[in-house]
Symmetry: D2
Subunit: 417 residues, 4 copies
């Protein structure tokens, strides 16, 4: 008799194949699940399904979540200029809630009592997946093999996995594994572990999957335009071609970024469990879209709204996503503000990508009256009385004068260098 039905996140790779077999051997019925969130080398659905069934899975479900990923999460990241620790565009974090929700939906559909995944016990992803699982359906239990003593004791490293695979007729790719881990989706590819654990070891040229080496990028720049409506990219124009479909448009930005080597970073970050870790990421399209969006906001967004948004909303949403708190009341609270903040972020940004960088060439919008050439002009005094500046300065200086006088009194005049 089955110990119950498990919905396992299954990629077809060595780790999750071993887990699948191990679960089957433990007596579980296993429904395999794979979310297509735009991994490159397009998911070979048929091969993966065949392998899953071969290893004893009851069925294999492959869900195409690209559109929901782009429209519900990636575009929100663009709307709030999401960034973590000033550098990281959160590519992995953005995909996790979408994948987790899809997995719970499948688990519910097939009456699974368990959810399982192949995440390690020291990483961020176990936390992100499981926090999502608990919020989505707390009645389904989690089996995290890499945190189970009986599993960990059996599998101490890759050799143990390969041995188990051989013993259990699990097909293994013949090509040698790269000396680092990768995780890819429509937004980015991440690289960590292995040789990258030395933070002073420069990533080798062949590591990067989603971007050309800037040194190998074309000698001629690529010019293109991005149109936004309420902060969402709705049109990309490149070489006379217009793309408006959300997924297609994002893939086009990825291609522009890829070809011009845009969006590589190499950082040391602090995982949410408190461990410092080195990661490399190439994020071509989102790097471009984020810059364009930031630029357009400069033109149309009120400075005080922006200041509040930057300090509170952007930071909070980014942190929530990194920490796996997508399905939380606080993310809902913050996202309500993001939407509200974008009501006039509508317009066009002209851009250029070239050998690793992306530049803004110009921007325009009809949605806001905040930028006005005459107001901006130092030569025009239309609608402006320079004497007002005197009053503005004097009032702002009231407090500073007292500060300076106190410093003099205290024998530490501000004029001291």
């Amino acid at each position: 008799m089955s110990k119950g039905r498990v919905c396992l996140a299954y990629s077809g790779g060595l780790d999750t194949s071993v887990i699948l077999k191990w679960l089957v051997l433990q007596g579980y019925t296993v429904v395999c699940y794979l979310a297509d969130v735009g991994q490159a080398d397009a998911v070979d659905a048929a091969a993966i399904e065949k392998k899953a069934l071969l290893l004893g899975a009851e069925r294999m479900i492959i869900a195409d979540l690209q559109k929901v990923f782009v429209e519900q999460v990636v575009f929100t990241a663009i709307q709030c200029n999401a960034i973590f620790e000033d550098r990281y565009l959160l590519g992995t974090s953005l995909a996790r809630p979408v994948i987790a929700r899809g997995q719970v939906q499948v688990a519910e559909q097939y009456n699974c009592q368990f959810l399982s995944h192949g995440c390690t016990g020291k990483g961020n992803d176990q936390v992100r997946f499981e926090l999502a699982f608990k919020a989505l359906n707390p009645s389904i239990q989690v089996i995290a093999p890499w945190r189970l003593p009986e599993f960990c004791n059996q599998f101490h490293g890759r050799q143990d996995l390969l041995k188990f695979a051989t013993e259990n007729n699990i097909p293994v790719e013949s090509s040698p594994k790269a000396p680092w881990s990768m995780d890819e989706n429509l937004v980015h590819c991440s690289y960590e572990a292995g040789i990258l654990e030395d933070p002073d070891h420069t990533p080798p040229k062949e590591l990067w999957k989603m971007t050309l080496d800037p040194l190998d990028a074309p000698d001629a720049p690529t010019e293109f335009n991005i149109h936004f409506d309420k902060g969402i990219p709705v049109k990309v124009v490149l070489g006379g071609q217009t793309t408006t479909d959300s997924v297609e448009l994002f893939k086009l930005l990825n291609k522009i970024g890829h070809d011009n080597g845009v969006g590589r970073i190499d950082i040391v970050e602090t995982r949410l469990v408190g461990i410092k870790s080195r990661g490399c990421y190439d994020t071509p399209g989102l790097t471009i879209a984020r810059l364009a969006h930031l630029d357009l906001e400069g033109l149309v967004m009120d400075a005080q709204v922006r200041d509040l948004r930057d300090q509170f909303i952007t930071r909070a949403w980014s942190r929530q996503l990194y920490n796996g708190m997508y399905f939380s009341p606080e993310r809902e609270f913050v996202e309500n503000s993001i939407v509200f903040s974008q009501h006039n972020v509508t317009g066009e940004v002209r851009m250029m990508a070239y050998k690793g960088s992306v530049y803004v060439l110009g921007r325009s919008s009809d949605a806001s009256n905040l930028y006005d050439e005459q107001d901006a002009s130092m030569d025009s005094l239309e609608g402006f009385s320079p004497a007002d500046s005197t009053g503005f300065i004097e009032i702002n200086a009231l407090r500073l004068k007292k500060y300076g006088l106190q410093k003099q009194k205290d024998g530490k005049p501000l004029t001291q260098t």
Copy 2:
């Protein structure tokens, strides 16, 4: 009899030459002052002094403030990763307090009752200079000609200035003026006004002074190392040459950035008087130093300290500098935290600049125990019990489970796409 002695910020250009002559004609004695904060085209001290005296100045004082500028302000900007509205590295704002303090020192030395400058009435710089003046010495009055009706009514534009110059034997450069304004110091050159007032007008190729066009930069990248001690760059190593002097080191970073086209931005910002304005800036060395510093902090700084620092300190200091609040109790308060935060930001960052971009190749430090390869490794469980992650997740999920259940009860289950 003199109406009093004025200390005038004098650059030798048309505007301040007219102001100098106008003040003399009004009956003031004028002491001219010029701060050398690293403007390119090295300040031609002799020529400027000669011109000032020719126009009737009592004396011309030229102060070399490069070292104090770099060490007191620019390095602090690096220590806190200062940035304004996510893009602007504050080049002009950083120099203003140093220039203003030098001017007040000169005014005090020569018993001036007045301070004067050539800033327009709609801009940021009038505010920055005068707030500094009021804090430094509130007993000295300010003459801001571009806010005086009698001056503004006489000079409506450049033609009026040229006419006055001709009538008053003020020498004028024969080369035509660029159709935009510039302001340069060791950190950056800024470009605004004129043709740039159309935010969709791409800056012409010849505009940029401190950076080569990335398209014209060398085909081979430049590799170099930056060493930090408590967040301050103390050594740059390039091609076997080591530079440690603060000003020389910063100029070397400028040269690397210049040659590789690093640090150009083109933005619409909101001036502190509330007017939106378009500015272009090239900031080669600071762009490089800021990235290196950010990167090193990833390796050595505690994540919680960083989070507090980013949200409060970086933002506050940047805003204070932009707003001309350098000589203020709040800047002093914030700067105290910056220094404290940097106690272990000591180490080396290896970098590469290439055609518009700068990259981190690796980093190392002996100053912190936070990064540990074994901790970071997903393969090692030394000192880590994976079961702890289960507890961590469960406790964090307590609140989220209730959230999900409430959503179900409200008929809006989180599993809905």
Copy 3:
């Protein structure tokens, strides 16, 4: 011929009566305007109108804005627990936008080219009124007599006003003026200036208008209940009587607070023009409502949402109101979050007022599942695995262990006292 039509905020008091007459003498046609925002001693409409017309006003408009004041602004203040500098409940600031909007409406209705008020030139209210005026209708100009040299030079103090009143047949109350200024509305009465300018001078017993002296309050406490719906007080139950009308309900809270001496504060605050100033305020009903609301939020609001709300929203809204930025994009942005945050702040709070204080006796709500007696109980382990706490602690401690070890290494062990 008239110089134009002025809409003057007119209270019937000495200052605005002098201004009214002065404007008439200057050749303006004057429409007088008075907003009833719940000043005690109910506005004697007939007497004020009679006086205005006697002094030459074209007409006198008295607008009852109590309901809009309570429902649009005061209830929002309750919803976000608004407070300024930890002490002040913003009574004056809350009323200003409502009064200003009413005045602009009247000015538009009667084709006034000018708006005028009797605010002094050093205070907050001039700023609050005029920022509202500019946002509401920038084409109407402002006449602020206390900032006009011709007016200030004529009226140096109260004696000059009285002399002018006598000369111009302006009726003056025979009772002597209190040696301080007051401003009253439904929310509070403020007291400042005069003898209060010495911050060490205790306000005299007779100063307070809206609260009994706690020493004179009844010896028996008053018990009552407040019901909230989405953060808004919708019902007050006192002694078996139920009140649900917004204005009546708020007045009842005022009465409870008044009778029990609740809501007096005496502070030194910093005006928005940067000057420190001493103010005393009695705010009976809002003090009670704010405490009840805070308490209910403890029961029903998610802690992370609350944390974000407290840090950003409460502070921002309070500051915006204090600074006269009600009619601003940033207030609109923040208020959108306030509303969203209150969706389940529905329930009942039982309270007691007694001799200066107000206490919560208990609270209940059906709107949230966050509080659960079994969860809270230290004795029950239903749905909770204590071992999870171990994991939670261990993960949180990872970073701290390294911190402690580094301190030991640095020779400053944390165990040193």
Copy 4:
């Protein structure tokens, strides 16, 4: 042979007596430790030591930590006006780091391999103690009996503890236990659990230990003065008596508060493990000292510094203490700012306590020039030009005018009610 030496936090009560005996029976050698942080009913050292030794402890160490508690932690809380969720003054949280450090010191002194405590598995205190232990000395292991299955399974409730006590000759107090839990130190007494788990159950009159019922407090108010030096209370003057010793002074404030019924709150808070919980606290002296300190800051602290301090420092420090993060780099970082912020918070506050409330009667200071009666006065224009206010308003209004015009254009004029 001993399983090792345990340092157990031992109070002499039923729970820790059972734990002590249980540890002894398990084969551990036990060093008992009790920190005197000012629990009322002064710790009866001799009786507790006798009981510990009777139950098999190797030794009993009682450490008087009152002075270090007051001077290192409580005074810092006063300096930053620490508060949690707007209501709770953190009494328990403040004591925990001091107690934990003392325990680790004792453990090190007596070569203990283990630290143990009687905290439950769902509460805050286990987290606070153990995070401190890990930071202070990560090599000492923790035994938390209430999270051990073998212990929890043996002791399901109070009856099991009493049974074990009888069986093991553990003396038990004959007086019945109150139907709630208490924890007391110099700062407050907390009450939770039992009948208080119903959040609508009003605490009974006899619950409160550190404050008289306001209804029973004297009919005459108590007047007294508090003097601060750099934010620290250094002198209390009451009825002609002056107290300057830190502990004595704080106890005097406690007595004033106690006698006048000051400092009771009853709230629902969210524990750091995410569970909502109801707690009642009476905190007489700290409530008084915090108000006095806040008031003095109004007089002497720059408003911009205060704003930054309130938003970042006060919140962060309070949260860190609540969360048990005292021994952390972020607390050290924040505390550095607290100290800096207090350099001129020196002066005297006159106060009055009466039947549940405490009031400020006046304040004075020589340490700051920020408050100036002439500046504050609406009648004096010395050093102030009212025309400056016009400029200040106009500049601030630039952005708001555009906002209002855009609203008109969008068909939603701001004048709409």
